[in-house]
Structures are given as C-alpha cells and as structure tokens.
Amino acid sequence: MKSLNALASAVAAAAFVASTAPLSADVLFWSTQARPVEEAQAMREQVLSGFEGGVDYQPNEDGPWLTRLNAELEAGSGSIDVLGALHGNFSAMNPDALTDLGDLGVASSSETFNGLAKLGTETLQYVPWMQASYIMAASKEALEYLPEGADINALTYDQLIAWAKNVHDETGDAKFGFPAGPKGLKHRFFQGYLYPSYTNGVVRTFASDEAVVAWEKFRELWQHTNPASTNFSFMQEQLLNGDAWIVFDHTSRLAQAFNERPDDFVAFPAPAGPTGRGFMPVLAGLAIPSTAPDPEAAKALVAYMLKPETQIATLRATNFFPVVNVDLPDDLPPSVKASGAAVAKMSASPDANPGLLPAGLGDKGGDFNRVFVDSFERIILGGQDIRRVLDDQKGRLAAIMEETGAPCWAPDAPSDGACPVE
C-alpha cells in the first residue's frame, strides 16, 4: 500500500512538472489538410522545416479543429497561430474572428480565388494556400477528331459534344467517359461544371430555363457517351483500357493513367458554356485567428507558405497544386505535371467561373448530392421530361436549404439566410 501511495504521488508530481514545463515558441499551425500520416510527416520534414521560427504542425479532423478554434475565440486568448483549412471551413466562420490579411502583400495569382478569400468583406480574410480540382483528360488517339478551329485548352461544351460525336461517327464507338458509377463523382460535375457554365448558379438557378438548356446539352453529350459509364467510378481505369478516350474526373482519380503511360494522354481544362468556364476548385486557405498569440510570426509563416519553393514542396507533400505562378520542376510525377498545367489554365482562363464545393450543409451534404444524382438518373437514364423533373426535385432542394439555413455560395449571388431556389 505504501509503495502504491509513493507511486501515486510520484506520478502526480511528475505530471505537475510536465504540465508546467515552459511552452515552446514554435508557431502552431492548426490544419484540416494534409492529415494522412505520410502527408503530415512530409509537411513537417519537407515543407515547414525551412521556416526559421520553427513550426508545430498539427493536422486535425474537422470536429476537434473547429471546437478548439471556437473555444479559443470565445475565451479571448489562444495558442493557435495559423489556420489551414478548406474554403468551406472558413466561409462558415464569422469574418471578424479572422485577422485581415489584405496588408500582408501576398495573395494567389488568381483574382477569382482572392475574391473568394475575402469572404464577402473588403479585404482578404484568408490567403489562398493550395488547390485541387476536377479536369478533363483525353487519349492522344482522340486528338485527331477535334472539331476544326477548336482549341483543346479553351473548349466550349458545343465543341466537346461535336468532338465526342466525331469520335463516335468515325470509330463507331461512343468514347466519351463519365464517372456515373456508384462511387463516381458525377454530382460534382453538375454542381461545379454544368450548372455554373450554363446558369451562373447552382441552387438559385436549379430549375431555371437555362438549367433546362444545360440538361438538353448534357443529353446530347450522353448520345456519344460510353453507355457503360454507369459502371465507371475512377476514369483512369477506362483511359488505360481504352473504353473511354475523353473523360472528366478528379485529378487524383486520373493520376494513375498519367503515371503509367505519360505519353499517351493529355489533360486539359473543362469546357465553357454561355456563362463562363464553370469549374470546381477545391481551395484550401491559410488564416490567422484574432486570438493568435504571435501574429507577427503567424504572418511570416503565411508569407513563407506562399513562396514558390514552398508551394512546390507542398505539391510534392500533398498533391495539392500551387495557387501562385511557379515554374514546376521537371522531376515531378507525370500526373502532377499534366493535371497541374490543366488546373492552372482552367483557373487562370479569362472566363473562369468557379462553382465552389457546397458549404454549410452539414450532414445534409449527401442529400444535396442526391438531388443532382436523381435528376441525372431521371432525365438522362430514364428519359423523363426535363422541366417536370426539375420542378419535382426543386421542392426537395428547397427543403434541404431551408433546413440547414445554408447561405448561397459562388457562383450563386449571396443571400440573407438560407439560399433560395428560385
């Protein structure tokens, strides 16, 4: 018993010593990105080790990340210096909680991103940090069927349809590939590409006349789409086995094709419609909470993260692309080179019209996606009347928006309160 008591007090004493040990002066980087162990390790060893002040990089799941941040804001003092998260995380926050970064002198090279990062205020609330996206890719065999006068880096939807039709007519096979399988990311195509390109909105314009045109165009494209697309989920597989020549998918779901046979495929920007080149950037940003203990060091770290060298190191560590103009080195994996160039062209194109990932839906995100998937299945696969289907689905979409109270996100015009379906 004595020894047990002694042990207990020894442990208690040790704990107090440990708990009162002086805190290190490292800048605390509180992030929801680069979470997998290997990426976190690469961030620490290859990206952040070059920062002079020393960085404590702590990746977290969204729940603890937000809870801790809110606690510090509410308590009025904290230990987090720099926040790293997706645009959706920041847009759900009160801009007052973030230090204005407009005077920092760093920003992304894309005005679109900088505009988003203002979160509806006059000045940068976070600094764009890195990006990923969904792009198009094609087998080089398909290039000879490009319609006359079409620039692969500035296609329109009409040209894409003509291209897919040419291939279909000449080879006898429908070679456009679309990830409409059970695990495919088809809903992102509608939310971030088709709708922004035709209606300049997603929620407000869901059942508009422009939306009907968009679905008619997609129906046209579907005539030249490999009918087995309803089984495709990772388009790299169909590129590699030749089932599809022209495809749309997330950069990471195309990587294998480029890495295995880099000389056989090209990556290029998504096409443009009447209201611009809709695309869905997955945008991560860096911010400084108003409670940061060392704002100067935090600003230095944000500036360091935006340096071209750091951006390239980040690309290697996380497979997320730079948001500033950089000359990519030659020794990057082929997939990074190909899709990086395509993403850069897409976000820098003059008619770029980013459609953001849905934000503020909480656990209703799945239901929101369902609305688009169901519309796709009824209109394209079931051949039902477009107007009727959209009017039907409109009610469900409105219910989701009202229940979550999620405000509009780009390209929909901002709203007071829940985003209305017009």
């Binding site: 704990a15 997998p36 230990s79």
Partner: protein, 280 residues
C-alpha cells in the same frame, strides 16, 4: 463397489466430453483475443505490398519499414509520455474520488442515495463533442488548458462512474461484520478500513484502475481539443491514421495497442485475484 463400477465408464465419458468442451471454449476465447492481435503484428512487420495482397501469410517477414516510419515521426515519444502521465493521473484521481463514494454507497443510508447512483451514471450521458467547447473555454480561462492535469480531470469524470460502481459492489461483498469485529478489537472506523477492508478489495481497486487507464488511453476528442503542445498519443496518432495507407494503419494501431497491453500484463496478478473474490 459394483455401483461405481457400472457408472465409471459413463462418468469418464461425460468428464472427457466436459474437458473437451472446456478446452474448446478456452481455445476459442483465446483465439478471439489473440488472432486479431497476431494479424496486427504480422501486418506491422510486413512490407506495404504484402499488406495489400491476399491471401495473408501467417509468418511475419520482419520488414521494419512501417515501424521505422513512425520511429522518425516527430513528437511520438513526447506524446507517449503524455498519454502515460494522463492515464496514471486519471487512475489515481478516479480511485481517490470513486472508492470513498463506493464505500459510502455500500455502507451508509442517506437521503437521495438512489438518485445519487443514477446521477453518477448520468455523467456518461452527454457526448464529449457537446461538452468539449465549454470545457475548453473554461480551461483556457483558468489556465488548465493544454496541461496533463486538466485533461486527466476530464478523463477522471469519464472514469468515475465505473470506479464508483465497481468499488460499490466490492464493498458490498465484504460483510460489515468484519469491520464491526475490528471496531470491537480497538480499531477506529478509519483503521478498520485501512487494516481490514482495504487489503481485501485492493485487487478490485486495481481492476477499476485498469478501467480508468483504458478509458483515458482511448479517449480522442477531448484530448484533441484540450491539448496542443502536450498531446496524448491517441490524439496525436489516431486522427492521422484514418486516411493513411493500410500498412501504416496497422503499424500505428500496433503502436497504440502495445503500451496498454504491457500495462495490463503488469497488473494481471491483481486482476486474477479479483476474479478469485468474485467466485467466493
């Protein structure tokens, strides 16, 4: 004599079946625990390609790649130390608070006793993600934030219902006459407790200490929110394992499991002793 002679073969048969059944259940129970751990070990010691391939080999190939990765992982040892410190503090505090409560519940009649027992369980009724925000705000304001002691307080709150309920049943299992006899022989209430009751329930206390240890060791959310520099191993590692490649998941899981196994192995003596009491 003749009776037994007739019965013997039958009895022998029954006993044989019984023994066979006994052996089979023991094997099954052991396999239940050991096989997953063994697979964890094999996969930890395998190269990534082997981990992703099928069928699995039963012999580890002693590829230390995955473990070496974690050996170079910044802050692992500090996190391990923090986990141990927090777990021990939780153990000590939950026993110091829980055992007297268990004693009081089993020995004294007081108003609201039933309500009190229910209330103790209620501390487990609120999910931590709900409590974490106000707790963190309070901790930051009081300076308990980011300390092993502060986190141990939270874990103690989680462990106390178990400590109280276990010690309550232990105390109830010890006849009050034993204490009364000690009183008549010159003991005060306190010395009767320390000299007579405590030695009897020490194994049981160890068991509830193990509960406290495991609860603290496994807790992620509070640890992730309430500690920054002094992260525990689970907060440090578990969050980053969810999206990691399979071979690193295995190695990380292995690293999380081993210290807890060593601890339980070290105190197994007391645990078995408690089962002895329960049988009596």
């Amino acid at each position: 004599m003749s009776d037994t002679a007739v019965l013997l073969p039958d009895q022998g048969q029954t006993r044989k079946t019984g023994r066979w059944l006994y052996a089979a259940s023991v094997t099954l129970l052991c396999a239940w625990v050991i096989v997953p751990l063994y697979f964890l070990l094999i996969n930890t010691l395998s190269a990534p390609e082997t981990v992703n391939s099928f069928p699995k080999s039963f012999v580890p190939e002693f590829d230390l790649g995955s473990l070496t990765f974690f050996a170079g992982f910044q802050g692992m040892l500090t996190a391990l130390k923090n986990s141990i410190v927090v777990a021990f503090l939780t153990m000590v505090m939950s026993i110091l608070i829980g055992a007297p409560a268990g004693y009081a519940l089993s020995r004294f009649e007081f108003r609201g006793k039933e309500a009190f027992r229910l209330l103790i369980l209620l501390t487990r009724a609120f999910p931590l993600p709900l409590l974490a925000l106000p707790l963190a705000v309070m901790f930051i304001r009081t300076g308990l934030d980011d300390t092993a002691f502060g986190l141990a307080l939270v874990h103690t709150t989680l462990a106390i219902p178990f400590a109280v309920l276990i010690t309550f049943s232990l105390f109830s299992g010890i006849p009050v006459e034993l204490e009364e006899a000690a009183w008549t022989l010159g003991c005060t209430r306190l010395t009767a407790f320390t000299k007579v009751v405590l030695p009897l329930i020490l194994p049981g206390i160890t068991a509830s200490a193990i509960f406290a240890f495991v609860i603290s060791w496994n807790e992620v959310f509070a640890a992730a929110v309430l500690t920054i520099e002094n992260r525990t191993l689970t907060a440090f590692l578990l969050q980053t394992l969810g999206e990691a490649p399979l071979h690193l998941k295995f190695a990380g899981g292995f690293i999380l499991v081993v210290p807890a196994l060593i601890f339980i192995f070290a105190v197994r003596k007391y645990l078995f002793a408690m089962w002895g009491i329960a049988n009596r």
